[in-house]
Symmetry: C2
Subunit: 451 residues, 2 copies
Amino acid sequence: MDLALSLPNIDVDTSDEVLAAYASDQGPVLDIARPLAVIRAESVAEVQQVLRWASRTGTAVVPRGAGTGVSGGAHATAGCLVLSLERMNRILEIRPEDEIARVEPGVINADLSTAAAEYGLMYAPDPASYRISTVGGNVATNAGGLRCAKYGVTRDSVLSLDVVLADGTLITTGQETFKGVAGYDLTSLFTGSEGTLGVVVGITVRLRYLPVKVCTLAAFFPNLASAAAGVLAVGRARVQPAIMELLDGETMSALDAAHGSTLRNRGDALLLIQTDGYGADTEAEVVASALGALGGTVSREGSAEALELVDLRRHSRGDAVHTELRVGEDVAVPRSRLVSYIEELHRMARDHRVRLKVVAHAGDGNLHPTFWVETAEGSAAALRLDAALDESITVALAMGGTITGEHGIGQFKLRWLAQEQGEEVRGLQRRIKDAFDPAGILNPGKAILPR
Amino acid sequence: MDLALSLPNIDVDTSDEVLAAYASDQGPVLDIARPLAVIRAESVAEVQQVLRWASRTGTAVVPRGAGTGVSGGAHATAGCLVLSLERMNRILEIRPEDEIARVEPGVINADLSTAAAEYGLMYAPDPASYRISTVGGNVATNAGGLRCAKYGVTRDSVLSLDVVLADGTLITTGQETFKGVAGYDLTSLFTGSEGTLGVVVGITVRLRYLPVKVCTLAAFFPNLASAAAGVLAVGRARVQPAIMELLDGETMSALDAAHGSTLRNRGDALLLIQTDGYGADTEAEVVASALGALGGTVSREGSAEALELVDLRRHSRGDAVHTELRVGEDVAVPRSRLVSYIEELHRMARDHRVRLKVVAHAGDGNLHPTFWVETAEGSAAALRLDAALDESITVALAMGGTITGEHGIGQFKLRWLAQEQGEEVRGLQRRIKDAFDPAGILNPGKAILPR
């Protein structure tokens, strides 16, 4: 089984540094595994060739975009091939009148938006990682983002996928039109399947109109509860903001420390809101008035400040710090539960003696609490952190929430999946997996629970 | 196998008139089949009981909402049970702060919107049949509608489904939050599966804000080509209308004859556009100016006239006329092909000597051409009609389109499905069907092609 001999003309990399670099994504690593080789495919034909070989030899294949996922969906498993799509990064076509684009999976999200902007269009899904993550990776996790309150998640922009199946067969799902209901919705099934059903090698997306105007409001509140109440007030005013982000005091302090900003002086909680389109000004006035009535200090940000604020928010995950053990969560709860869920989070942090900061895509009820402890505190602290995470999940589910709003199950969140989905649903998912990948070579141990 | 004895306490109807009434939906009937019985279920438990019995006895089950589908998805097959969900018609819950509603499948679409309006909310998907079709039926076909240009199709509003599987097992898919990516997207898989994978018995939908303002524009054009060009001009002006309908001269004449309106005097083609929300006025001005520049005669309709116009459009299918053999189509093409596709349709009508009228959800590129001949002309005319239909499908596919934008495959469109989807895709769909319904009792002969 000499891989290089079996796959002539394909760049099969088995160097130590590359194997190490591609062994994990940005998710927590439970046990590090060394891939057999890393292949950075250059074409659809190469992907097919690799999968045919993997099928023949029963070798696991872990598809990978930019490796920016945070649930371990692209972690290597022992002896696997890591199949990176990063070199397949061409924008194949933008058709402005049809308002669609066709891209290879390795195109960086931001690059597609930049290219679309020349035609007054945008690619709406904008995960915080949009400057470094690929459209293919976004499809694999059905990534959300800041703008999905108004424009939907990745799935809502994907019209058609080219997918290489486990046995190397190439199929095309969906259609190039905005609507289409012929047969089962395979496009949605592959979207969010984290590379366990097939390898996405081509993507046709719907583009949206680049807003003619964007207004950014910063509303600082004396406490989180009143900020969360503001989210519901905006809804009652029947404004659908493009972005509605909630940042707590700890998050603002962390941003101030890292970037020299002075957010924390202005309040204990921040609602960062963008309205867009022809109604942006009017909507911003309506929002400002609704939030002012709740005690918010609302300022209309100029374009430079606004850009900076939204940019800061996108960086609020922060960089990894070696002296801290951190885990970012991704639960979602029904919007009315935002206040009580955040109160519960603070109680958990006290009970388990861990640090906590919270940001939320508040318009969607999607929260990213980050818990952390000092590495120096050792394994007892790590256990407390784990206990806090477990409780944050249990409480979110009890409120009618989900364990993952937009990051995916990957490898890291498998431990909680059975709390959300009963055996019948898990069984159906396994039956789908078996129908698509009977030998189980595609990204094994990710996304769904085994028997 | 006495059905009534096997299902005590369930109302099993085998009367001739009910069997006849439930033998077909509003789609063309290829061969009429008599059901074994009609069951109008009253509860989830009854649906489970029926499916357990059907599984045990290998009896086909045809789930049915209001029977308003137009592709024959609810046509009876010989010896089947028709399982109507029409009596399960309660709105279980509206949670205004969470912006969601939970309903039984038999709720009429318009009733849900009316109930939501009390909270300033709306259920966005609005098929032309919204006053008579059920939410469950809309889910089964992934129904579109007028407003989906802006608000998306049924799938985009469905968060969670309660589904009874072929063996009677009850599962819940998805989540009550706006976002959620745990496991495969079963919610999207069931949506549009036309009752072939399971019976939907409960639906949680996302509600949207009832627009604070709606503006309606009627733009009459001297010909279809300039009206279709108007669709692209609105896009270039970066306005996303809520509704953008295109009606041709024949459609206007038919509406005038049926309703006493005087549309046809005003032009050869009509673009009917609604903008909504806080930017509605500004958007309407932008649209009016863009369409005026293309030679459109644009009027801003007062609310009574506007309602009437949109209502007329919803009735543009017209009622069945016994002296005419009519078939309405449902293709979609990329938006830039609207003009050339409509030109092709007219050529086909001439070539095959059939009558033609066209309406389109133009914003989505989704066209509903209707072809018809006089019944008195006999079978030769019926063959010409069929030939025109076949050609309309072939040409739409050649332009990158689909054979069904929103009506579903049902039974009637199976004959064209292999032209759109290759054997590999069809094979995957069958594998899914086998995984969900190994005995093939759920709505057999619909939605997907057999081996």
